[in-house]
């Protein structure tokens, strides 16, 4: 007998036919206090990072200056990177760069989503569209997005438009390809069922094909966002006057390795943050796919 533990949203849990229904505590009944096993795991993770930082700090403060003062500059102690990060944060400078990069990423990524999802559905659904557009996609796709940087600088100059263009090139294909794949992986029997129930073509596309492709579309969106975040940095390194990529490139000119490292860490954190947010959204929208999950 299966016992469901998914008494959530006020929906009843599901007994199998004829089974005695057993009351299973849902989320609210779970103990709220400190989860020690979990805490220990997290602390364990922190400990290794702390050890690395300590080692690094000692290395760049005590060992490197004695070997060669230049090494000490090239590998700054983490505490100095942290302090300069704090200063940049307080002055508002850091936030300005974060916002500039985020704006470019979100703009490019959402515009691409609006184009690539319908296009992917069309390519996946109508073989004719695939025959026509497929070869073009296959020709452009293998070109690494950063190979577009030189021509895009000539086209758009330096700044927002060029950065957004590069991100769009990079985010486009993961979203497109995953959408196409999603459409093609819909179970044919669901299409049959929909036709049997009288679905006209347009509703079939919207109510069955789009939904059926949604899990893969989300995968594409997530990969696309990751790629976007990498590319915004690449684009800003060479063609921007703001943004995190610009910030670390600018710091290079002044040998401010503390800012460079601080910037690198923040770029990494922002990437993780965006991925996390998108996963949350996905979990909420695709309950029917993932099932109701209480633990991560």
């Amino acid at each position: 007998m299966k016992i469901s533990t998914t008494a959530y949203n006020g929906r009843p849990s599901v007994p199998s036919e004829g089974a005695v229904q057993i009351q299973v505590p849902g989320r609210s009944a779970r103990p709220r206090g400190v989860n020690f096993a979990n805490l220990e795991k997290r602390l364990g993770g922190l400990a290794s990072i702390a050890a690395l930082m300590g080692f690094w700090e000692a290395l760049s403060r005590l060992v490197l200056p004695r070997l060669d003062p230049q090494f000490a500059i090239l590998v700054p102690p983490p505490s100095r990177a942290f302090m300069s990060g704090l200063r940049a944060l307080l002055s508002g400078e850091l936030l300005r760069h974060i916002l500039a990069s985020s704006e470019r990423v979100l703009l490019a990524w959402s515009v691409v989503a609006v184009i690539a999802i319908p296009l992917g559905i069309a390519i996946g659904w109508w073989p004719r569209v695939n025959r026509f557009l497929g070869p073009i996609v296959e020709m452009v796709r293998p070109i690494p997005p950063i190979a577009w940087i030189p021509i895009s600088i000539l086209w758009f100059g330096i700044g927002m438009t060029q950065n957004v263009f590069i991100i769009m090139i990079g985010a486009f294909f993961p979203i497109l390809i995953n959408t196409v794949h999603g459409v093609r992986s819909i179970e044919p029997i669901l299409i049959r069922a929909a036709l049997n129930l009288g679905a006209p073509p347009w509703k079939l596309l919207r109510k069955v094909v789009l939904y059926g492709a949604l899990p893969n579309i989300f995968t594409g969106l997530r990969i696309g966002l990751g790629v976007s975040w990498m590319l915004v940095v690449a684009a800003e390194l060479v063609a921007a006057t703001s943004g995190l990529g610009f910030m670390i490139e600018d710091a290079r000119n002044f040998l401010r390795t503390d800012i460079i490292f601080m910037g690198m860490v923040i770029i990494g954190c922002m990437g993780i943050l965006m991925e996390r947010i998108l996963r949350r959204v996905e979990r909420a929208l695709l309950v029917w796919y993932h099932g109701a999950q209480h633990h991560e």
């Binding site: 299966k2 469901s4 998914t6 949203n9 929906r11 009843p12 599901v14 007994p15 199998s16 036919e17 004829g18 179970e187 029997i189 669901l190 049959r192 069922a193 929909a194 036709l195 049997n196 129930l197 009288g198 679905a199 006209p200 509703k203 109510k207 069955v208 939904y211 059926g212 949604l214 309950v287 029917w288 796919y289 099932g291 109701a292």
Partner: protein, 277 residues
């Protein structure tokens, strides 16, 4: 004329490696309105193919299907299908699944809600209206599929081994549920199964389809009152009868296959005829 007329139906598939597969040959049968027909036979006998043609998913290679005097030309809600795999839309709740066909007809929301509630009550799943299919057991999923099929008010139900994927306990329960529902909402039902017991429990008439290609071997009327008891001597008698018909079919099949080169000659001839067409 009978409500459903299947006349001289044949179907050949061409497989990926260009083999000609004869799935059905010269199948004819008739169904009266509100009749419960069970189609039994070994797997690979073309039962699903027959149902898919009746549903309008596949075109026959020869012959035709008339329902209510009209030739079947494509899928239609008037011939609602219940699949062995349930085929519920996983992204819709139970309620939304049952409402799907009505929404396709652009029925207004209040009207739709009323019809959906009626059928959810009928299959006893009102409580689970807002659950997703992933949260239901197999038997419940199939009850949702039945409610979804009935909600569009079809002229007939086509059921392809609907209980084939369920455990035997749930299966017996679902058979009784189906009969209860059928007593309330009289429909013409074509029900495919490979279980003789199931066929005799449910049907007014049991048709045996067997062989490769599948042909109709016999019709057996079942006039026992429902609910039927498997231990009933009459039930057992019918069971023996139907089983012997299926066995006779597979025996003659074996003879045919062991007849040296018979199959080869036959299929080559079929291939030739196909090219000649």
């Amino acid at each position: 004329m009978a409500f459903v007329v299947v006349s001289d139906l044949s179907k050949t598939f061409i497989s990926k490696n260009q083999m000609v597969i004869a799935a059905l040959a010269n199948v004819s049968l008739e169904m009266e309105r509100n009749q419960f027909l069970c189609i039994v036979g070994p797997s690979g006998g073309g039962k699903s193919t027959l149902l898919n043609i009746m549903a309008g998913f596949e075109r026959p290679s020869q012959g035709k299907v008339l329902v209510g005097g009209h030739e079947v030309k494509g899928p239609s809600p008037s011939r609602a299908m219940v699949f062995q795999e349930f085929a519920l839309f996983p992204w819709f709740t139970v309620r939304e699944n049952v409402a799907f066909g009505l929404e396709m007809q652009s029925m207004s929301k209040p009207e739709r809600d009323e019809v959906v509630s009626h059928y959810l009550d009928l299959v006893g799943l009102r409580r689970f209206a807002n659950n997703f299919p992933i949260e239901l057991s197999g038997g419940m999923k199939q009850r949702v599929a039945i409610a979804r099929a009935l909600a569009v008010n079809p002229e007939m139900l086509l059921m392809d081994e609907p209980f084939g994927g369920l455990d035997s306990h749930t299966r017996g329960f679902m058979q009784q549920e189906l009969l209860r529902i059928w007593e309330k909402e009289r429909k013409t039902v074509a029900f495919v199964t490979h279980s003789i017991d199931e066929a005799i429990t449910l049907a007014d008439t049991v048709a045996v389809i067997a062989g490769r290609p599948g042909t109709v071997r016999s019709f057996t009327k079942v006039s026992l009152p429902r609910p039927r008891e498997e231990a009933d001597p009459e039930f057992v008698k019918l069971k023996v009868e139907v089983r012997s018909q299926i066995q006779a079919a597979s025996l003659s099949e074996e003879e045919w296959e062991t007849d040296a080169g018979g199959v080869g000659r036959e299929s080559r001839w079929r291939k030739f005829r196909l090219f000649a067409r």
